[in-house]
Symmetry: C2
Subunit: 197 residues, 2 copies
């Protein structure tokens, strides 16, 4: 079995990202050594530094992959709804459920901002998820469904609310009721934004 160089290159890179994702989510960024990553990936540090600029760059690749997956799930849930407001609520609920995956949490919400810096983290989050939220809110502001005004701050408020809620749901003593209560509270928060008819 001889592989072309392009195939081999891609395979090695994907393995590194996959191994990094698993280790980063299990133990946290700081507790994972490059030696451990390359050992489990069956390569050496030379391979890692050939593909990435360093440990943080590998983490960035992992984070982008995670963000993409979450965004895909959110978009799918939103598209399943017809009414725009239902799309918003479904998308938010889907985000909470998707980010409930413990493999996602630590990477996307805890280590992400600390490792890459909040601004770079936000840029990735914006490109993947928050952009859709901002677009939806913009549309609602234009149609008068919610009160007019700048949507960027509101987007961040809601995004932050969901991020924190997801982490709260992941605490050890959390039960299934908490998910329902959180989704209900989030729904109330969103409904509160609608102009009163």
């Amino acid at each position: 079995m001889t592989r072309t160089r392009a195939e081999q290159r891609e395979a090695t890179r994907r393995t590194l990202v996959a191994v990094g994702r698993r280790l980063f989510s299990d133990k946290g960024y700081a507790a994972v050594g490059l030696a451990e990553i390359v050992r489990e990936a069956g390569v050496t540090k030379g391979a890692l530094y050939h593909h990435f600029d360093g440990k943080a760059a590998l983490f960035r690749a992992v984070l982008e992959e995670v963000q993409q997956e979450v965004a895909t799930r959110v978009a799918a849930a939103a598209d399943a709804e017809g009414d725009p407001w239902d799309q918003l609520k479904a998308g938010c609920a889907a985000f909470v459920r998707a980010a409930a995956d413990p493999e996602v949490q630590r990477i996307m919400l805890v280590d992400g901002p600390a490792v890459l810096g909040w601004n770079e983290w936000r840029a990735i989050d914006e490109a993947a998820s928050a952009r859709h939220l901002a677009e939806a809110l913009t549309a609602f502001a234009e149609t008068g469904t919610i009160m007019p005004g700048p949507v960027a701050p509101l987007t961040r408020l809601l995004s932050g609310a969901m991020n924190e809620a997801v982490l709260w749901l992941a605490r050890p003593e959390s039960g299934p009721d908490d998910l329902d209560a959180t989704l209900a509270a989030l729904s109330r928060l969103l409904e509160g934004l609608r102009v009163r008819t």
Copy 2:
């Protein structure tokens, strides 16, 4: 000037916390070495490890100090208001302003969860700030000012919303208008929770 041992001990400890706070907020937890901390504090690693269990323990002491200061400012702003609902809004606004301090942000909102783990971070946050928010919301739920239901999820949603908003306000291209817009959006979010009369 001969100092008692208790005085000397406290002085060294406070210096370490103060230096750690400045360096952690300037460069971030991971980019600060113990050698740099003890050098600027005028002591050695022996002193640091005599007072703290390690780098993370020093960071924890710094975080607790920062949290206490923010909580004090929030409580003062809330107490200045008479009406309970005004107290809530004033407290939230004061939190956003207090956490706008760049020295506070990185420690309290970015590195805090990553270094100590989210659960431990939340425990500190809960003891200092989030508890007051939860108590206020509980009172409003009992008096019927807001809709009944579990307040814990709502507390986390609002807390997370404010945390993220503060970080958004600290981004490089942020202007003074953004603070007003954020406070306005936050106010709308809170008002939306009130039962409609």
